[in-house]
């Protein structure tokens, strides 16, 4: 690859056109990242409001909301919005879209127009889902288990499924774009083992995007066919096999769980070395752990179906395979700890989020092992233990990582510094609020409180009230950044090119970057975390 210098305007991408048209028809990966960021923030608070109402309902045993139907629609709305319109796209399409070309020393993604198209697909899917959820809602839960969803559910199942189907193609497009870009558009000298871990984790995520999402698409099509024509593909009364749906659904949705955590693992691996001023411990292990998580992800889906009536042989097989996921996950946690060991740690807001991530992710991961154990799962299946487990991974893990990434790259994205002290307070508050919300749910689940019920026996009330109290703290902690980050766009101090003393390529271009990212395509001569060679960088 030869080095080329283009005549280019050296103006920041933010000032390169201010009209609405220049935003809505942009093919600049950085602007598309902003478009995505605005959309998923809206979805996040919408899904969050549904969660708030769920917690509000569970304050009293008989349920604050009188109708179980309404409650069903609330948790379905919460699940659908949070999974497909926030967690799955969250880090890849916002932070990933923004920093992948910058980290690679590229001028844009491989297929910029495809990138823009993916945003429009996402929005089209999003509006379908929103229309359905607001014009009456869906009462099936986010998993759409048949035959409930196809032949018994009331509400707009087909429309909502259509929305998810469309937005699925948006993630496939993003996945293709990332994989091809990472293969083809690396700067000279940027070998695979010199890539930041974040790139590796997005690569792994994209594998899942590309290979798992189409199976969801075909599953949803079959579901729509069954719903519209009342024929049996999945409905046992009409000769179908409901477990076929579950197999196909979880072939996507289990890997999708790793879509929702792998980018987070990458973010944390980026942040920890920078704020510990140390090279990432065991780089090769960390990157191959990402890839192996993505591959093992496809071998374990049956652990969602232990009590479904699938064959015992399959259950044993899937249970055994599920344990393998723990190995690369643990490698990552121990390597972060190894990086922290004897580091000179700075507790800036991104680091506080990242440290919180390690604890919460470990907690969620270990409880995952209980659920992978065949016998334990019979007791814990479909209880609040499961809810607590995956919220520790997805909210404690991924949402923390998203906020960590948002703070870490905020100066690069906006060219402004966020107010540090209030950000640290928000990070701590989030950790506190999260644990207060979800730790009681582990106990509730262990004691046998099932999920998805709008009422519960009175002896569970204390723990439920604790959980709801935690949720209000958590809500406050999520609202804080909305205000102070927005404030910093207008009133924040100007950000230098490299406020954290990081060594990544994205910090070697001004904040905010030029439209074409780099004046001269950089040449890379060392790994992304060689802090020992750069003591002068210390701030």
């Amino acid at each position: 690859m030869s080095q080329i210098v283009l005549p280019q305007s050296q103006i920041s991408y933010l000032s390169d056109g201010v009209s609405l048209r220049s935003w809505l028809l942009t093919t600049d990966h950085k602007r598309i990242a902003i478009l995505y960021m605005i959309s998923i923030t809206a979805f996040f608070f919408l899904g969050g409001s549904a969660a708030a109402l769920i917690r509000y309902n569970l304050i009293v045993p008989e349920g604050m909301i009188q109708s179980a139907e309404t409650y069903n629609r609330l948790f379905t709305m919460h699940g659908i919005i949070m999974v497909w319109f926030f967690l799955v796209p969250a880090v890849p399409v916002t932070i990933g879209n923004f920093v992948v070309p910058l980290m690679l020393g590229a001028r844009d993604l491989a297929f910029p127009r495809l990138n823009l198209a993916s945003w429009y697909l996402f929005m089209a899917g999003g509006f379908c889902a929103l229309y359905a959820l607001f014009s009456g809602g869906v009462d099936t839960g986010w998993t759409f288990y048949t035959p409930l969803s196809s032949n018994y559910a009331q509400g707009h199942v087909v429309v909502v499924v259509m929305g998810i189907f469309i937005s699925g193609f948006s993630t496939i497009a993003t996945g293709i774009n990332f994989i091809i870009t990472i293969h083809r558009l690396r700067a000279p000298g940027l070998t695979w083992y010199r890539l930041p871990v974040f790139i590796w984790s997005l690569y792994s995520t994209s594998i899942i995007f590309v290979l798992a999402t189409p199976v969801l698409a075909i599953t949803l099509l079959l579901l729509m066919f069954e719903t519209l024509f009342h024929v049996g593909v999945f409905d046992p009364k009409l000769g179908g096999d409901p477990l076929l749906f579950q197999h196909l659904f979880w072939f996507y949705s289990h890997p999708a769980v790793y879509i929702m955590i792998l980018p987070g693992l990458g973010v944390v691996s980026e942040i920890i070395p920078v704020f510990a001023r140390k090279e990432l411990f065991g780089y090769k292990f960390v990157v191959w752990a990402s890839v192996s998580i993505a591959i093992i992800a496809f071998f374990v889906w049956g652990h969602h179906m232990f009590v479904s009536g699938q064959s015992l042989f399959a259950s044993v097989l899937f249970s055994m395979l599920s344990y393998f996921v723990a190995v690369p996950s643990a490698i990552k946690v121990f390597n972060w700890l190894g990086t922290l060991h004897k580091g000179r740690i700075r507790f800036d807001a991104p680091m506080i989020y990242a440290l919180g991530f390690i604890g919460l992710f470990t907690m969620g991961g270990i409880t995952g092992l209980y659920l992978a154990a065949l016998a334990a799962d019979v007791h814990l299946h479909d209880t609040y233990f499961v809810i607590a487990h995956f919220h520790y991974i997805m909210v404690g893990g991924m949402v923390s990582a998203y906020f960590a990434a948002l703070h870490y790259w905020w100066p690069k994205i906006t060219g402004k510094m966020y107010p540090e002290m209030i950000a640290r307070a928000a990070a701590l508050l989030m950790f506190l609020g999260f644990n207060l919300t979800f730790f009681p749910q582990y106990i509730l689940g262990y004691l046998g409180m099932p999920r998805r019920y709008h009422a519960y026996p009175p002896e569970f009330q204390v723990l439920n009230v604790l959980s709801s109290a935690g949720a209000t703290i958590l809500a406050a902690a999520y609202l804080l950044p909305l205000f102070y980050l927005t404030y910093s766009i207008f009133r924040g101090a100007r950000a230098p090119a490299n406020p954290w003393g990081s060594l990544g390529l994205e910090w070697q271009t001004p904040s905010p970057p030029f439209t074409k990212n780099f004046v001269v395509t950089p040449t890379v001569t060392e790994g992304p975390y060689a802090f020992s060679k750069h003591e002068t960088f210390d701030v």
């Binding site: 290979l211 199976v215 496809f298 071998f299 889906w301 064959s311 015992l312 042989f313 399959a314 097989l317």
Partner: protein, 95 residues
């Protein structure tokens, strides 16, 4: 008529032959349980199209790995999904 045309023509003839073979063999009295072997000629034809018309052999290396990856994941999907029905104990419904 260059080398490309010649190889395309050969591939086409090969495909026609395989299709005719598949069609013909399907009229033989094969037991119901083993009739899925009729898919085998199709798999051969798919490979022929990929190597011939889609020029997989001269494609970039990553394109080859994507092709292999797609097939590998298809095997995972089919293989693991079928472990369940192949080994499931079905209990009769009473009443």
């Amino acid at each position: 008529m260059n080398a490309r045309h010649r190889s395309d023509l050969l591939i086409w003839l090969g495909l026609l032959l395989a299709a005719a073979l598949e069609f013909g063999v399907s009229f033989l009295a094969i037991p119901q349980g083993v009739r899925p072997i009729l898919i085998l000629p199709s798999i051969g034809m798919a490979v022929l199209v990929a190597l011939g018309f889609m020029r997989l052999l001269t494609a970039p290396d990553i394109a080859k790995s994507f092709a292999i990856g797609g097939i590998f994941w298809l095997t995972v999907l089919l293989g693991l999904a079928m472990t369940d029905p192949m080994t499931r104990a079905v209990y009769a419904v009473i009443g």
